[in-house]
């Protein structure tokens, strides 16, 4: 069996397309959940409207890539307003209910037969991003240490990580500012913030929009990298993996989503590869090869539980902060 191949696969995925997508989704969640305390369980919806906004603009309306990106961002802002305006005055759980339902409604609408001519039904929208790859500066496959990328993958991954860096810097600046101070105070006690003359509602809406727009870049990357927008990619799993990434890395930490997504995808692919290897070489004979895909999630789930028990603040979190009584 080929352990070095398993390791290089894991490393490639650890800094690869999926890691970038989930990192961007988690950066948005970090603003909403980590810093503001908003329970957005519909992050997949923000990625979906961005991806479809881009895809429909190019494939259906025939607009350029740049217009498509703007349409996607506008769609994310609109979704945030639509979800936030009616629910953010209510208790926190209502936002959770509404967002998870809205994300599913969006997915089912996108895959419905009725809108097939626009959204492409369950096949989605395909091969619309050639424009993006026309700008590709790489002329062949690229090797970074043991990690291996094709020409096109390298281009989208490069853009992805540049976006991650830019958005992380913006989050850093936001959270160090008086605006971030209000946001963090809202997470702790809304009434205290109200009593000091700040409109909690307006700040929560701003955080929802910012987090949604940051997350929507994950939708762009997913759509462009695969040259395909599949409705079922934007299911609730995507949201929950993004939460896992955020909590693993450490919520309310600027670098939390980055560390979280790299570790998450590295481990997932490593466990997958190692198990598959062990099974095919006969070292493990009580599971079959087709069960490996499920069992890797068991192992990952158990590891996450252990992490929460022994290190509830995540990899980068601050234990001292967590232990304080934050009533």
């Amino acid at each position: 069996m080929d352990w070095s191949n398993v390791f290089s696969q894991a490393l490639t995925q650890g800094i690869g397309i999926q890691a970038v997508i989930f990192c961007l989704a988690a950066i948005g969640l970090n603003v909403q959940f980590g810093y503001t305390g908003l329970l957005n369980f519909g992050q997949s919806g923000f990625l979906a409207v961005a991806a479809y906004g881009l895809g429909v603009s190019i494939a259906y309306a025939g607009w350029s890539l740049w217009v498509g990106l703007l349409v996607g961002i506008a769609a994310a802002v609109l979704l945030a307003l639509l979800l936030g305006i009616p629910t953010l005055r209510l208790r926190a759980d209502y936002l959770a209910i509404v967002t998870i339902a809205a994300a599913e409604i969006l997915r089912l609408t996108f895959r419905s037969v009725t809108f097939d001519p626009i959204f492409g039904g369950s096949d989605g929208i395909n091969r619309f991003a050639d424009d993006f790859y026309r700008y590709n500066p790489y002329s062949g496959p690229v090797k970074i240490g043991p990690a291996d990328f094709s020409q096109n993958d390298m281009w989208i991954v490069t853009i992805g990580w540049i976006l991650v860096v830019i958005l992380s810097i913006i989050v850093f600046l936001l959270m160090r500012s008086p605006w971030g101070r209000v946001i963090k105070a809202i997470r702790e006690d809304e009434d205290a913030v109200r009593s000091l003359g700040k409109s909690v509602y307006s700040y929560k809406l701003q955080a929802l929009i910012i987090g949604g727009v940051m997350g929507c870049f994950g939708g762009f990357i997913a759509a462009i990298a695969l040259q395909s927008i599949q409705p079922d990619y934007y299911s609730t799993d995507l949201t929950f993996f993004a939460y896992a990434v955020l909590i693993l890395g450490g919520a309310a930490r600027v670098l939390g989503p980055i560390v979280g997504s790299v570790v998450f995808w590295f481990l997932l692919v490593l466990i997958d590869g190692a198990l598959a290897n062990a099974v095919s070489s006969g070292a493990i004979d009580f599971i079959r090869n087709d069960q490996v895909g499920q069992i890797r999630y068991w192992i990952l789930g158990i590891s996450l539980m252990l992490l929460m028990i022994y290190r509830p603040q995540g990899i980068l979190g601050d234990k001292k902060e967590l232990s304080l009584d934050a009533r």
């Binding site: 105070a185 009434d191 009593s195 000091l196």
Partner: protein, 294 residues
């Protein structure tokens, strides 16, 4: 400046000692404020005025509706009916953050210090009109750095006067209960309120801190801010209040200077029950007559 409040306090001398009486220069006037929870009438205030520049105490037995009245006035709860003006401005139905912006700032009975922010950050949060609190300006520190420094200086001066300056970089969650009370009061002052409303400022405060807390409240008045506070500690009420308003079962039942109010028949009845000064003969007889029921 520090003695600006004197004439306003003096002006209370000629005010009759009766519930709902008009004041010479009221900052807050409330009319027919009513709040009921199902069948229970929590607040039913016909008319009450708060004199500007004074320290007014709001007292009354448990369940008298004092905190509910506070919540109504500051917009944290909505009345079933009634209206009130603050500095001549209608405040009924106004949202709590607007009430604070208009200059009426409250603290809470259960202290709301923000534990995961430092003491200094708690203080800075109180300042109004911050450029850095605007979303787009916030990512350009040079737009708000100067104002932030001014705010920090003012916060530090306040913290010094509340003996919290050496704690400025600690998380507020690490403070003691009494220090949190002080921090909450100092933070409310960062808003530069015209009137500060303190809900049980003494509850849970170490007696050793009591005197300095009283001094702080007097300083607040000297700075021109009107103080309204709810308190159960009668020594404190007697010590620092210029005027006392007594509530019982949602209504204002008496008003006057502390000494007068505390000897008021209706007030004593409200606290101790109507028959507190009668001999216990009836119940005493009942006890001897039917000892097996005890």
């Amino acid at each position: 400046m520090p003695d600006d409040h004197r004439p306003l306090v003096e002006a209370l001398k000629d005010v009759p000692h009766e519930a709902g009486v008009a004041k010479p220069d009221p900052i807050l006037v409330a009319d027919d404020v009513m709040r009921h929870f199902g069948g229970l009438v929590a607040v039913d205030v016909d008319h009450v005025e708060i004199q500007r520049g004074t320290i007014t105490a709001l007292i009354g037995p448990n369940g008298a509706g004092k905190t509910t009245f506070f919540n109504l006035l500051t917009g944290f709860d909505r009345p079933n009916e009634g209206q009130w003006t603050f500095e001549g401005r209608q405040l009924a139905g106004v949202r709590p953050h607007k009430v604070a912006k208009y200059g009426m700032v409250r603290t809470f009975q259960l202290t709301k210090a923000l534990s995961r922010l430092t003491v200094m950050e708690n203080m800075r949060l109180g300042a109004q009109h911050q450029r850095g609190e605007k979303l787009f300006a916030s990512i350009f520190p040079f737009l708000w750095r100067g104002q932030e420094n001014e705010i920090s200086e003012r916060a530090l001066r306040l913290l010094e006067s509340f003996n919290l300056a050496q704690k400025q970089d600690d998380l507020a969650g690490s403070l003691s209960g009494g220090q949190r009370k002080l921090l909450e009061m100092a933070r409310a002052l960062m808003v530069r309120p015209d009137m500060i409303m303190l809900d049980e400022p003494m509850a849970g405060v170490n007696p050793a801190l009591t005197q300095s807390l009283l001094d702080h409240i007097r300083e607040v008045r000297a700075g021109g801010t009107t103080v309204l506070f709810v308190e159960h500690d009668m020594d404190m009420v007697r010590d620092i209040s210029d005027w006392v308003i007594v509530m019982s079962q949602g209504k204002v039942i008496a008003e006057g200077p502390p000494h007068d109010v505390m000897s008021n028949e209706a007030v004593i009845d409200a606290y101790l029950g109507t028959h507190h000064d009668k001999p216990l003969t009836d119940s005493g007889e009942a006890l001897t007559a039917h000892p097996e029921e005890v």
